[in-house]
Symmetry: C2
Subunit: 249 residues, 2 copies
């Protein structure tokens, strides 16, 4: 149990907004997409409309399998694009929930995954960051095509300039190769000049391990950073994306 108490102590090192006065010197705020800007609960609700009583379970399985497929392939060095993995995950979820797999059923769920809704705090946060003249980008495991459609559908025009897919790296986050792809496309020489924000703890851990400043968006108020990644704690913890701009005021 020694581990636990060491880690409890470390939790004090996470800066909560309002408790630190020095603004970080960053050149760009980079957001993860799925689970950070875009709400996977909206996929569950959309899936529920066509598959009554099974929407939540479908969404949970799709997300879990996307992650399992992406991580396994990254470990094996055998990349397949995120559109393929997402369709694979949908097919698996259909099987698990006892829904007959047909092309239209798969396509319907895939199109719903392409029209995820942004979290409520996204539009305001992007406007605030824009007013502060901060450079804003997206770095996601999704394909370029998936990301462009997602952002267009949500009308997030402030993001449309710098949308980076890990496709070029042929490795998924949390691999350093994926964050390297982001850094290269951003053309930012110093890693710590990037504030990378994600709602996924394995992604926060990866970005921190790579060398970015890392922010964890923890909307559901989990009391501690995910116990499995103690030594990769984020530099910042936010309860709403709106808090990011406050760091720079």
């Amino acid at each position: 149990m020694q581990n636990f108490s060491i880690m409890q102590k470390k939790s004090a090192q996470i800066t909560e907004v309002g408790k630190q006065m020095d603004s970080p010197k960053v050149e760009a705020i980079v957001f993860d997409a799925y689970g950070t800007l875009f709400d996977l609960e909206s996929f569950a609700r959309d899936a529920e409309k066509v598959h009554r009583g099974k929407g939540k379970e479908i969404a949970r399985i799709v997300r879990q399998k996307q992650l399992e497929f992406a991580m396994t392939r990254t470990i094996l060095g055998k990349y397949a694009d995120f559109e393929t993995l997402t369709r694979n995950a949908i097919e698996f979820a259909l099987k698990e929930t006892g829904i007959k797999r047909t092309d239209p059923v798969v396509e319907n769920l895939f199109s719903k995954f392409q029209s995820l809704k942004p979290f409520k705090d996204v539009v305001g946060a992007l406007n605030d960051l824009d007013e502060l003249d901060l450079r804003v980008a997206v770095l996601s495991n999704g394909t370029q095509s998936m990301l462009d459609k997602l952002i267009e559908h949500a009308g997030l025009s402030l993001l449309s300039e710098e949308v980076i897919s890990v496709e070029g790296a042929k490795a998924y986050k949390p691999s350093h190769k994926a964050y390297q792809q982001g850094q290269s496309e951003l053309e930012i020489f110093e890693k710590e000049k990037v504030l990378y924000v994600s709602g996924n703890t394995w992604d926060v851990a990866g970005a921190k391990s790579f060398g970015f400043l890392a922010g964890w968006i923890n909307r559901t108020k989990q009391p501690l950073f995910d116990e499995g990644f103690y030594e990769f704690r984020p530099n910042y913890e936010f309860s709403s994306l709106g808090e990011i701009a406050k760091l720079f005021e």
Copy 2:
């Protein structure tokens, strides 16, 4: 959708027992532990006894988080042992299911994870393989201490000689390093002389990718090998561990 049809065709290459007459020339049958020899449903039932109405959810979350932590750490090259990750996963599951975390509550669930029950087909299958004079081993992400306790508790003395943990590799399956650790400890020069059997599709994919002969134990009769790993299909698919010995009769 081209991918899908290619992969559908490939499924015909999986040998089902009874359809092939030539016995594979193997020196050892190597089993995964969690989800292959040992039934994680028994953890759900044991957890249910102390946390009414939450046992299944606790077991699901623990398994998912163990996997997420292990894969993330393997990708980042930051190993922590499986006992630590399991405790971390239990703590996360307690939080998610709204159970107050105390040391005794964590210890109680951890001890239940150490006393998983073997699947019903395990004892008979091990006896059959022993009669055929086949060498049998275990290769698991668990620590040596966890595995020794698990096997002792289940009384699987036929397995007690060759129980291999990935600890020495400091990387988890499906990393090639983990299977390499198994191959080295077994001292088997040719990879294809090992028949590796797992119920976890990411593990089957990893073993196949490494070069072992791979068997998938698919007790719940999923109709196809897990869609996310088409190009790592197993050489054999078993509906019961009892079918393995039949390959060698």
